[in-house]
């Protein structure tokens, strides 16, 4: 059969993307978070319509407006967040939407038989009658694949399948995928893990910022080359001096040891984290989003308590049972600029002058005996807006009405304005325009000069390189690299970020 062709010409999330996948291959689609790979596949699966462009499957141009259409074309998708109903059994989950008969017991029999056949041929085994809630993560994923295959998928899309798997389970998955390829199915693997792509795939496409930047057979690619293509080069914001003297090795202002944390689903997110921050330095944490950076910030700022570990910050000690909380964090001089501006940093419905005191509303300068000092708050906000050039200079405007860059500047003004001794910053320039980026970097550097200890988490490698004195790399909840800035290079960090150096 002729190769499978798909072409899109999209805007915004996907800009003029052309993708061709040959039949019976394992095709890797890689890129950082926000590169556009998931969006592209959502379009293919009919979850969102493309703004423009065309799709051709098995040589025929098709219109995919709904998941139904995609399934009809033989496309199946296994999402990163499983689409399963916990209270139903595995069998019922597979059956849903394609039940052969209205009477369930009668419908179940042919489904069960077909599933047995599929399980034989692919080697995927799932206990069919257990409730999904009782299944392990690996089992659930196998179930998702079986579901797609049951619906007749000849093209299988897998979105970050190993994100929730242990290395052993990942190996098992790879065996299955190779088996499927041998049987003539086509698999598109969305991932940011280069080692997997190199080990598994036949062809690889790299996306960045919504575009396809590279597309080649795997035997022509190298991990270094892919890493470089993935993280790319953006506007190089120069460091003022690369040969700045190393910060004096005073005792650390913040010291975390042995941090360990599992999330609500029991997955290990932080594993044995040891971290030190000194006054007057900027430490950057590099890594692809989802490797524990968010959890680390939550733990260090007091929003979450770890399962194990200790923290010593600004003279105070905290252990796993009696952890820090955001209020006392601010009290001792720790400020936090959160990653999620919309849900955490600002109350979007509040006017700017109310968001500008979030977290500090009980301070004397803003509040006297239980009454908010609106005049003082407004003046403080105006001063903040002046210092950080927040536009428009209207303190009464609702927080959500400001552009992303201005919102971020307001948040920074608020946190920096309290002259913290430790500053935690998550994704400082996400969604921020170029002019504001320069300004923000300048502010962070100024904080360092003033003796503050700054921790910056960013998924933009350029940003880390531009700001940090020291760089830590996180991968799978661990710190895989701890380098002084002079030892860093795009390639080396890219490898560490992708787990290649492990």
């Amino acid at each position: 059969m002729a190769g499978v062709h798909k072409r899109f010409g999209d805007v915004r999330a996907n800009v003029d993307v052309h993708l061709t996948v040959a039949q019976g291959t394992l095709h890797g689609l890689i890129g950082e978070n926000g590169a556009g790979k998931s969006t592209l596949m959502s379009v293919l699966y009919g979850l969102h319509p493309a703004d423009s462009g065309s799709i051709a499957v098995f040589g025929q141009t098709v219109r995919i407006a709904h998941a139904d259409d995609a399934i009809g074309c033989g496309i199946g998708m296994v999402h990163q967040h499983f689409m399963l109903v916990d209270t139903l059994s595995a069998l019922e989950n597979v059956m849903l939407g394609a039940e052969p008969h209205w009477y369930l017991p009668q419908a179940a029999a042919p489904v069960r038989q077909r599933l047995q056949e599929l399980m034989e041929s692919t080697g995927l085994r799932v206990p069919l009658d257990s409730a999904v809630a009782d299944l392990s993560v690996g089992d659930r994923q196998r179930l998702e694949i079986l579901k797609a295959l049951y619906r007749g998928a000849r093209i299988l899309i897998l979105d970050e399948p190993t994100a929730v798997l242990t290395p052993q389970e990942a190996e098992q998955l790879f065996t299955v995928l190779r088996q499927l390829r041998a049987q003539g199915s086509t698999v598109i693997l969305i991932t940011h893990k280069l080692k997997e792509v190199m080990a598994l795939c036949d062809q690889v496409t790299v996306m960045r910022a919504g575009r396809v930047v590279a597309d080649m057979p795997v035997h022509q690619a190298s991990v270094e080359g892919l890493a470089q293509a993935m993280v790319g080069r953006k506007v190089q914001l120069e460091r003022p001096d690369l040969s700045a003297p190393a910060p004096q090795q005073a005792s650390p202002v913040l010291q975390a040891s042995g941090l360990e944390m599992r999330d609500a689903a029991g997955v290990l997110r932080l594993c044995g984290i040891d971290l030190q921050l000194h006054a007057g330095e900027i430490v950057g944490i590099a890594g692809v989003s989802g490797n524990g950076q968010s959890e680390l910030l939550d733990v260090l700022s007091g929003l979450a308590a770890p399962d194990a570990g200790a923290l010593q910050v600004l003279g105070k000690r905290f252990a796993a049972g009696t952890w820090l909380d955001p209020f006392s964090a601010r009290d001792i001089g720790l400020a936090h600029v959160p990653e999620d501006r919309h849900a955490r940093a600002l109350v979007m419905d509040f006017p700017a002058w109310e968001s500008a005191v979030l977290g500090y509303e009980s301070l004397m300068q803003y509040c006297r005996r239980g009454w908010m000092r609106a005049g003082a708050m407004r003046r403080a906000t105006e001063a903040m807006m002046e210092r950080f050039d927040v536009r428009p200079r209207k303190a009464t405007l609702a927080s959500r009405k400001f552009s992303g860059g201005n919102q971020q500047k307001l948040v920074l003004a608020r946190e920096l304005g309290q002259n913290p001794r430790v500053l935690l910053v998550g994704q400082p320039t996400r969604g921020v325009d170029i002019g504001a980026i320069e300004f923000i970097y300048g502010q962070l550097r100024a904080m360092r000069e003033a003796g503050c200890a700054v921790l910056v988490v960013s998924s933009e490698l350029d940003e880390i390189l531009a700001l940090s004195d020291r760089v830590l790399v996180m991968y799978h909840g661990r710190i895989t690299g701890n380098l002084a800035i002079a030892e860093c290079s795009q390639e080396r960090l890219g490898l560490l970020m992708a787990g290649a150096g492990v």
């Binding site: 979850l47 709904h66 998941a67 139904d68 399934i71 998708m77 999402h79 689409m83 399963l84 109903v85 916990d86 209270t87 139903l88 019922e92 989950n93 059956m95 849903l96 939407g97 394609a98 039940e99 008969h101 209205w102 009477y103 369930l104 017991p105 419908a107």
Partner: protein, 319 residues
């Protein structure tokens, strides 16, 4: 205990529970699909009015039933318009339906029949009669069992039997049919259903349609079988009791049935307990027994009697 007393309590408990069962089943279908239904009370009320009005106007039982079910279905779909097709707040919509029903039924009642909102008493032919009267007479002579089974089980009208028969029907629908499987899935994880190629909207509207039919039956029961006409606010909170029974029954048909029967029995007992002395407690106030279903619901919700786990997607609009 006096066997006649027991018999009459059981019988009356079964009858009092009937509208609860119907309403609770209605709520079950809606809430299992993820749509909160606070409006059971209003729908039942309006259906009762429709039955009373149509019955009085046409003299036909069938038309009364159709009118009642039709009105309730329309209200359910209105709820759907606000909450399923648009992301309106499901609770506010339900409350609105209750208030509208309370006012509109009286307004129309006064306008059309003039008796202060009451519909004319329906003649005997229109009302639904007790079935199997003869069987009751036949068993009566049997000692003890006779009156108990007779009054408690056999002496009821058709709608009662229909209502109880609907419990296994709904169970079958929910657990043995394709529609039921999809319905249960939609209440837990609507995204999953959408992604599997099934329309969540259509499922929810279908559930709401069935919900309307059942509420219609509940309302008809009140007017065609229990009393003989509609009077303003006659539902007296039964819709909320049905909701409480549904939660107590953990959104499953059979436990909900037992909860409704429990509430019905409590109601029947309350009337007879008035003035009765219980050892150690003194006179049990009738209001305490009347309040018991509501208290039980709160206790259940507070997690003291095991956690009641609602369908996961209940109350969340689909984005």
């Amino acid at each position: 205990m006096d066997e006649l007393m027991l018999a009459s309590v059981l019988g009356s408990g079964v009858r009092l529970a009937t509208p609860l069962v119907l309403c609770a089943l209605a709520g079950l279908l809606s809430e299992r699909s993820g749509v909160v239904d606070i409006g059971l009370e209003g729908k039942m009320l309006f259906a009762a009015f429709a039955a009373g009005a149509a019955g009085a106007a046409t003299g036909s039982t069938a038309l009364a039933l159709v009118a009642a079910m039709g009105v309730a279905v329309m209200l359910s779909w209105l709820h759907g318009l606000a909450c399923v097709s648009y992301p309106g707040d499901q609770v506010v919509s339900g409350v609105a339906i209750n208030i509208i029903a309370a006012g509109l039924t009286v307004v129309l009642g006064i306008a059309w029949f003039g008796q202060g909102g009451q519909t004319p008493a329906l003649p005997v032919e229109v009302r639904i009669q007790a079935h199997w009267e003869s069987a009751v007479q036949a068993i009566a002579p049997l000692p003890w069992l006779g009156p108990v089974i007779g009054q408690a089980l056999l002496g009821h009208n058709l709608l009662v039997y229909v209502a109880y028969a609907l419990v296994p029907v709904v169970w079958f629908l929910l657990y043995r049919t394709r529609f039921g499987l999809r319905l249960r899935a939609v209440g837990e994880n609507p995204h999953m259903v959408e992604v599997a190629g099934v329309s969540v909207r259509r499922l929810r509207y279908a559930a709401l349609g069935l919900n309307g039919l059942l509420c219609g039956l509940a309302g008809s029961y009140l007017v065609l079988a229990q009393s003989a006409s509609f009077s303003p606010h006659m539902t007296a909170g039964r819709g909320f009791m049905a909701l409480a029974a549904l939660i107590f029954g953990r959104w499953m048909p059979w436990p909900t049935l037992w909860a409704c029967l429990l509430f019905g029995l409590l109601d029947a007992v309350a009337m007879r307990l008035q003035g009765l002395e219980l050892p150690g407690v003194g006179t049990v106030p009738v209001q305490a027994i009347q309040a018991l279903p509501y208290l039980l619901t709160v206790v259940l919700l507070a997690g003291f009697v095991g956690r009641a786990v609602a369908p996961a997607a209940l109350g969340k609009p689909l984005d």
